[in-house]
Each structure stands twice: as structure tokens, then as C-alpha cells.
Symmetry: C2
Subunit: 560 residues, 2 copies
Amino acid sequence: MFVPAIKGQGTDEQQQKWLPLAHRMQIIGCYAQTELGHGSNVQGLETTATFDPQTDEFVIHSPTLTSSKWWPGGLGKVSTHAVVYARLITDGQEHGVHGFIVQLRSLDDHMPLPGITIGDIGMKFGNGAYNTMDNGVLRFDNVRIPRDQMLMRVLQVTKEGKCVQSNVPRQLIYGTMVYVRQTIVADASRALSRAVCIATRYSAVRRQFGSQNGLETQVIDYKTQQSRLFPLIASAYAFRFVGEWLKWLYTDVTQRLQANDFSTLPEAHACTAGLKSLTTSVTADAIEECRKLCGGHGYLCSSGLPELFAVYVPACTYEGDNVVLLLQVARFLMKTVAQLPSGKKPVGTTAYLGLVEHLMQYRCGVQNAEDWLNPSVILEVFEARAARMCVNRAQKLGSFPNPDEGFAELSAFLAEAAVAHCQLIVVSKFIEKLQQDIPGGEGVKQQLRNLCNIYALNLINRHLGDFLSTGAISAKQASLANDQLRSLFSQVRPNAIALVDAFNYTDHYLGSILGCYDGNVYPKLYEEAWKDPLNDSVVPDGYQEYIRPMLKQQLRNARL
Amino acid sequence: MFVPAIKGQGTDEQQQKWLPLAHRMQIIGCYAQTELGHGSNVQGLETTATFDPQTDEFVIHSPTLTSSKWWPGGLGKVSTHAVVYARLITDGQEHGVHGFIVQLRSLDDHMPLPGITIGDIGMKFGNGAYNTMDNGVLRFDNVRIPRDQMLMRVLQVTKEGKCVQSNVPRQLIYGTMVYVRQTIVADASRALSRAVCIATRYSAVRRQFGSQNGLETQVIDYKTQQSRLFPLIASAYAFRFVGEWLKWLYTDVTQRLQANDFSTLPEAHACTAGLKSLTTSVTADAIEECRKLCGGHGYLCSSGLPELFAVYVPACTYEGDNVVLLLQVARFLMKTVAQLPSGKKPVGTTAYLGLVEHLMQYRCGVQNAEDWLNPSVILEVFEARAARMCVNRAQKLGSFPNPDEGFAELSAFLAEAAVAHCQLIVVSKFIEKLQQDIPGGEGVKQQLRNLCNIYALNLINRHLGDFLSTGAISAKQASLANDQLRSLFSQVRPNAIALVDAFNYTDHYLGSILGCYDGNVYPKLYEEAWKDPLNDSVVPDGYQEYIRPMLKQQLRNARL
């Protein structure tokens, strides 16, 4: 039963530390940040925590309807305590948003404590999905808590109500965000690989049209199927590798923070924010695409895909809305470009912007389809596209007298540059991975190389407008990329099943009849249908009340 | 209770005529075509109808597991009769797939008749959606029906078992397909306009970040929100107008068929197939995009969007899988291009291909952003792009010694040309609409003109690779199109709410708290939450069995 609290919306370094403590204290906690009227903008939260020096207590209060806490996972029916984020007020002055530990329910009978209103916020997307989680609503009517239940690592409130800033660097919070977002990227890879495993296996089972030896053609042999499916297999691998790299990045950031080195933090933060946005958006769309690739049967719950979609899509919104995150990346990129003339060297994943003069001059040398198999060509083309988009956006921004207004006006346009930058990161980490030793030897490596090329060339195809309008490649070269892509599909086809089997998911974990390992889809679908409670009776409940009167045209008797 | 049968999967002219008859006969019918192993490829159906001249009966049989009828709506628990599609066999010879009226259940007690197995196929996507429909499975074990229960309009089977082709033209079936797909396009416009109405109204209610007069900024004022939302409002209008035009097309086709004029049928068929594919794919994605545009609250069922999505997405698969349909369009386009040298004039929506020489030479004259407001410029740019993509694909096809192999190899690439052609149709019908009188006068017309331009310029932006690689426009002109698009967003902003109010949907029909007409979103969300059955008790069911033992660390006593 701890799961709801741990999977609760929003996460914070303090929550990480607090949960084991909660366990020892025999309480169940959740993280209450989001409000009915406030999500992305944490500084806009309305709940107040007003210090009363006379009693040495904070008064937690919900002053408006929109200040009601809304969404925290595990809150609605289960949690006994919460970390509540509220505006700190001492001596009539505001001091920003901070966390407070508040007991919500009695530990004797689980009843809400006086002044506290709690409930579940109702049904959500899907059959099961997050409907197994009691996302909750919570209101406070002047609830008093002792002063020491404020989380005071960054700011301390004294008995007298004075605020004392600690010397703990505020940047530490970014370390936690890097951690959480890195796990989200790993989750994206996992969800995507589940979906493609199902769609790939079923595409080898399903036959439609055509005729070879009397049998219809396996749908996986259609180029239309391959061109939608194989780039998703490639993306699942790409996200896995970039996820592994992010794990390293988090370790690196942590070590630097411990040594009070904050120099790489803005870049690491932008990078993880961008990759969270990119991988979750792609994965959400890809799960639905995999469902469609399974045709009609993908619409059955027994395919596993509808619930995988419903449970996955919130990842595009929680822990930073994907569009808001892209704008953070864009802002960082614009700052990086603006600082280039001063000689400040971009670090980490933005290092290529240091070579912007070279990249603006760059001309892609591809002359035939095979040239596209060269990883350094791919890397430079992606670098040239991203760098030119950044420079182009920076120039456009420069034409606005007010930079903030310019940023707002061009925001959709800036988000495109952020996407280009993030795609470059994924491509470059895939290429780096292939420069290392791979267990399984050259044969395995060649398959991964094919997937890496499919990942990159498919992006060129999908974002062709970027590549052509920046002049990173020519129309002729784009056409050659397309030819090479088709040839790669043919090379991947014989190994497609092995490539998804390699994820090593059990049938139980996949939870999909269409994706079952033995491919015995039709008997299992047929068997599963009969388990539906509607089939417990041959003549359905309601026949006498509804169907029979209609058939006998005694509609006056029917309960319609 | 007739709804399941009428909304059943697959439709046929005969079903249209048969349903009223069924009503008078006091039966409930469904349309049983799709099988467990066979969907798109009707000729691959396995159910057999073998004529027995000795008894003047057909024997309906399911010879394999994959021949089980699967998906028909209304079949599982309700229907008493079905039109069953099966391979006709007389005298040991196959004569293609035909329809047979088969009684499934007793009219006395609703029990399945001997030799017939029927059930529901189980849960589907979403909470409600199609789970209110008894999509069914059906198997026949040598079920005998009288000869006159075969639908014999096209082919007659005599008492002796001879097959006699009627003089009814086979093309008539295409007339029905034009009809059905035209209604699907109208449905797409309706579903899309519901989703954008919800997302637009909520975007005006929701505030986040920024600060004007103490209030945060309405999210509809963000360019990122506008650039995702406003093109969808434009699409809702575009699909409505092209839907109206398709209604005219169906009337025209019907009149011609009655006069035995089949000349426009292939073009009309390709056009409706393509528009079915385009509008349903866009609408399915758009509903989910609208959900994301509502942030976290879009994930609540009370937003109406999760169920709208779950109930809508099958439209991408039924009545012709969208990819299969695009390939039909592509095949028609390739044929049209191949016949150009012979002087055969393309008709209807392909007439522009008759001007292919001009379109290959065309140079877009746009020099500043306002030039993009000229409808003839937009039309020619879309014509040039589609024509050049068609010619380019035709040339590539020509390099294959075997045309069928070439078509298979290039199919994904050919589908892109079909999309370009269909988008041209939608743009051109929008422009035609604006050349007519519009109720409401010039003010209304100007708003619609803005939407038409947004629809077209957004497509240029999204498919920029097509427009640049065909040379239909230059990178500089693309950038001007983008500038013009942003300016159009600003012009639409003050009228955005009016434009969705104009759909005139009641709150009851919209079924969305986020989209309610009075904008009183937060109190209604709060109120709705308390209606959830989980909130009937303050201390949840299961507290004693699960939660309390865990809190008291008496896990051995917990029922976990």
C-alpha cells in the first residue's frame, strides 16, 4: 500500500528521504503540491502557512477553491500524512513556497482530523490505469501544526518568526530533478519497448492480402507496416541507451554537487528536461501507433495496448509539462548562443554550439545512399540542423526590442529548436554506444547499427522541413536517405522478432494476447473472449425487460 | 436497442434496405463480415456457404478457428439474425463472397439455434466507449438456411445450383461506400469540433504563469497553445465544409448511377476513401492533443476527452483501414498520371493533374508574408506539391521492372503522395466555400478566411519537407508563411471562443466540465469529485483489512 504514496505526483529530494522514515513511524505519506488551479507554476500555489509566534505553530489554510490540493497520488483514501507545499507567511510577509508535514487522518480510526477535508477526485482515463490510485483532493481550514514540521533545509523560521536562509545551495533541488527525469526516460524506453514487442510479434502472426504458397502475406512484410514499426523499435533502443547515459549524468552531477561544483548543472538540467519531454511525447504517440498497427484487435483490452496507453500518457504532463520543458531547453539554448561571442565555451551536450562557425559553413557530402551509413555524416547533419535552428531563432529573437515579448511571440518556433537539440542528443548517444564493446559481438552490433541508422534517417524524413530549410542537406540527399531507409528496413526484417525478444519480457509482464511469445494468438483471443462476464449467461440479463418487449413490439412494456 | 445493429461494423447497401424490413419483421439484425483472422481483405473470408441442391438449402459453416465471425456490433447478446458474408460454393466450385440472411437465436426464448455459437468478444478501450456495444463472436456448425436467404442482387443461384450473373452493375456497391464514408467524414468534423470546443473554452479559463493585474495569464494567450489549438479549430471547420461537399458528391454519384453513368465513380471512390482516411486520422490525434492541451485535468473522465478519444479511435480502422485506403488513393493517382500521355483528362478532384506541365514549371511568387493570404497562391502551391509528388512517385515506380513489386516497395512513399492529394482537396473545398455567400456576412466570412489560411499555412509548416523538396516553395517563403501564421493566430484569438460557441453544442452533448459554456470549471470539478462512489464513505472500504494492519505493522494480519 505504499505504492500510491511513492508514485504520487511530484517528487522532491525531501520526499525521497522522508518515505523510509514514514514507514518506520507507521504512517502513510503523500506529496501534496499541485492545486486545483495551479500545476506547472509552483510559485503560484495559493495554500498558506502562516506562522503564529504566540503558539509556535504554522496555520495551514486553503483560502480559495482553486487552492484545494488536487491530484496527489495516495491522498484521497489512504494517506495519513502529507508534505504540503504552501506560501510561507511570517509577520505579514511572504517568503515563497515551502514544504510542511501535516497529519491528515487519525492513526486510531483513519478519520480526517478537524479542519481537514479529503476525498478522491474521481475516474480517470482507461479501464484500470490510474483508476487504481486514489488521486485526491484536500482542503485545510486553519489547521495548526508545530513549527518543527516545516522542512527547513533551505530556509529556517525561528521561534520569533524570523526567516534565516541556510547556506545549503538552492541548486541542490536540480540534482533531484535530474534524478527523477532520468528515471522517466528509462520508463519511456520500457513502455515503448513493451508496445513495440506486442506490435512486432503480432505483425508476424497476422496475415492479410497477398498470397504466397496459399497463405496471405504476414503484415510485417508490408513496407507501410515496416516504415511505421521499425523506427519505433529503433526508438525503444535509442531511449534505452540515452537513459543509461542519463544515469551516468546523474552520478556525475551528484559528485559535482557534493564538491560544490555547480558548473555543469544548468546544462544537465536542460538536457534531462528536454529528454524527458522528447521521450515521453514520442512514447505516448508510439503506444497508440502500435495499437493501430495491430488493426482492429488492438482495440481489445486483451491486446494490452489500450491500458498501456491510458497508464502512460500522463507522463507527458506530470513532472513538468512537455511543452513547458521544451521552452526551458530553448531558453537555455538561446542563452548559450548569446554567450558565444564572449568566448564562453558551451559544455556537455551543447558543446557542438561551440563549433557554430564550422557548422554554419558545413555542406553535407552525401552522394549516394550508402554514404548515409557513416555515423560521422549523420552526427554532423544533426549538429548542423540543430545549430542553424538555434542561430536562426536567436537572430529572430534579436529583432524584438523586448526579449521576453520576443520569446513569447516565437515560443512555438523556439520549441522546434529544442526538439532538434534533443534529437541530436539521442542520436549522438546511440552512436557513442556503438563505439563501445557490445556483448554479443559484431553480429549484434551490426543489428544495433541498423537500428541507429533507422532512428536517425527516419528523423530526417519526419523533420525534413528542418533539414532542408536550414540547408543541412539537399532534396537529392533527402531522397537518398529515404532509399537507404527502405534498404535498412529489409535488413532489419529477418531480425525484427529477435530484436523485440531481446527485451526479455515475460508474457505475464507484457499482459497482451497479441504479443504472446509463442504467437498462438487466435486460440488465446477466442478463449479469452469467453471469460467475459457477459458470457456467463447465453441469454443476456435484461432480455425479458428490454429485448423481448421490443421484439414483440410491446414497447409500452419495455423498460426503455 | 436497434443502435448496436445500425452501428455494427461494416455496412452494405443491402443492410441499409434490410434494417427497416427487419424492424417490421420483429427481428434484430447485424452485419457479420469481419472474421477473427480476416478484416481488410474481404476476399480472404473463410466462412463457407455450400449449396445443397437436394434440399434447396445453403449450409453455412465455420471451417477454421480464424473463420469465426468477430467484431460485428450487436451480435454478441442482442441480434436474432445476421447478414453473414461467406464464400459461395456450388457443385464443388467457389463463386466469391456473398451475403446470406441467417437466423441466430430463437424468437421465443432468445436461445442460439442449433449449430450456432455466439458470445461477446470482451472489454475494449476506455471506460464506456464501445463497451456499451456487444461486439460479438459467431461460429456455424453446418447451419442450413433456405436458398432464398442469399442476397442475390448481383449473382443468383438457381434451384439446380447454377450461378447466374445478374445485369445489375457491380459498381453499385461503390455508391454505398461513397455514402458511408461521407457520413464518416461528417462524424470526424463533429468529434473534432467537440474536442476543440472543450479545449478552447478551458484554455480561456485556465491561467498559469505570467501576471497581468495580479492574475496569471490565460493559457489561450500563449503562442505555444495557439499554435496547437487554432489549427485544430480550423481543421474542424475544414472537415465540416468538405463533408458538406461530399454530401453533394454522393447525390451526384447516385444520380449518375441511376443513369448508368459510371464515369466519375473511380474518382469519387478514391476521393471519399482518401478523405475518410485523412479526416479520421487527424481527428483521432487531435482529440488526444486537445486532452493534452487541457493539462492534468484533461486526464479526468469528467473532462469528457478520454472517452471521446476511446470511442472515436476505431474510426481509423473500421470501414477501411486508413493506410489501406491511402494506398487505394495512391494506386488511382498513379493510374491517372500514367494515362496522362494518352490524353485522358483527369476529372473531379484530380483535374489539376491535367495541368501537370504547368504545375511542374510553377514558381511560387510569394515575396512577403501578406502574399500568403491570397487563396489562388495557396491553391497553386498545394497543387504543385501534390502534382510533383505524384509525378515523382510515378517516375520512381517506372524504374521497377515489375510494377506490383515497385508499388509494394514504395508503398509508404506512395501513401505520402495520397495524403498530399487529400489535403489539397480539403484546402480547395474550404476556398470554394468562401467564394459562396456565407450567412452572417463579411464579418463572419473574414473569420472563416482566417481559419482557411491557418489550415493551409499550418499544413505547409507541418509538411514542409514535401513543399521544399518538390520546390513548390522556397525556404524563405516557408519562413514568411510561418510569420503570417503567427499573425493569423493573433487575429483569431479574440474570436476563438465565438468560433467554438458557433458549433452550438449543449453542455449535455459536450459532456465535459472543462468545456462547460459558462466557464465555471473549478466549482463544477470540485462538486463532481464528491459524486465518485469512493467518496461515499470517509474511511474507505478495506481500511480494517488492508490499511490498518500495515499502519500497525501487523502485516501478518493484513489481507495483502
